[in-house]
Symmetry: C6
Subunit: 74 residues, 6 copies
Amino acid sequence: MLPNQMVKSMIGKVIKVEMKGEENSLVGRLESVDDYMNLHLSNAMEYKGSEKVRALGDIVLRGNNIILIQPYED
Amino acid sequence: MLPNQMVKSMIGKVIKVEMKGEENSLVGRLESVDDYMNLHLSNAMEYKGSEKVRALGDIVLRGNNIILIQPYED
Amino acid sequence: MLPNQMVKSMIGKVIKVEMKGEENSLVGRLESVDDYMNLHLSNAMEYKGSEKVRALGDIVLRGNNIILIQPYED
Amino acid sequence: MLPNQMVKSMIGKVIKVEMKGEENSLVGRLESVDDYMNLHLSNAMEYKGSEKVRALGDIVLRGNNIILIQPYED
Amino acid sequence: MLPNQMVKSMIGKVIKVEMKGEENSLVGRLESVDDYMNLHLSNAMEYKGSEKVRALGDIVLRGNNIILIQPYED
Amino acid sequence: MLPNQMVKSMIGKVIKVEMKGEENSLVGRLESVDDYMNLHLSNAMEYKGSEKVRALGDIVLRGNNIILIQPYED
């Protein structure tokens, strides 16, 4: 399974994303992903380590600034 | 709805954008977006957290340096 | 008007550009722009906030490292 | 052997990856790689120097934010 | 004259280049440039402000990490 | 000679590479390079200034995160 297919397989599930140059990570339900790995997350939360910092709601993340994507386990 | 379509659905509305390597965020009315997620915002304001820092008027933001886009609720 | 057309509409006018990872901004007359938002500015000046730091003359700025472009009002 | 072929030759093996702007490195079994060097690693671990920091499980790494890939020898 | 043509017009001349995330700038004779603004400079010198730090000889600079290019006047 | 051809001409020779956001540089024998300037180096060493820090063996470097490539003279 190619990396992009791996990400697509997580649609509908909660994922954790680390963005370039950001200390905090983002956790939310993956609504969609395109070929550039741009992501649409719903019910997104900003986390500092394991602590919730802010509720963000719907967010779009720019694919080329993503460092790491992983399934999220609470 | 793919990430780019999600952004296009916000045209005419006020959005908040976080740019790479910038501490402050930008809030403005989304006038247009292209396939690279380059954005044209009008009546843009720079925010430091929830505090207005500067009025910027019309601005163009380069898509590949965007971290996060979200609908803005005052 | 798409973001790139917005930038093209500023040709011949003075613009202000913020570059990624640079504290200072650049102000100059926009001579040309291409599809990657690479810019050619003439009579460019480097500004630290509202203070002129250096005269740079003709400069070429790489589009993918641009954060923000706006019309400049003295 | 071109760089991308060199990476493909490591599929099924444990590799170490350094990402842009991240102090720690990532070690895991390379499951797949695409033409952009996006990577899927399984059983990934985060390392600070030679010390294990966190188990990450399955992760996807964005190719354009990779600095360096090397075979991992425990 | 488009930005890339402006750079091409400097072939054979001494230019100054600022790279992303680098405090020092690079000065050298522009030997060649391609469509990505990758540059080949000969007799390159590293400058910290107006002070020479190191002689580098022939160097290749990656276009997408260029911030600014300008003609160099000693 | 275009920048990419300049790099290709160094295949089989020892080169020094500076990567974005990395303080240290990498020195190794250039095995291959592709159109994105992704590099495969063998017998790579990490240098802090002129001091060897670590032996890295075979490494792949992502082209878009390269700042500077030069022939290495011991």
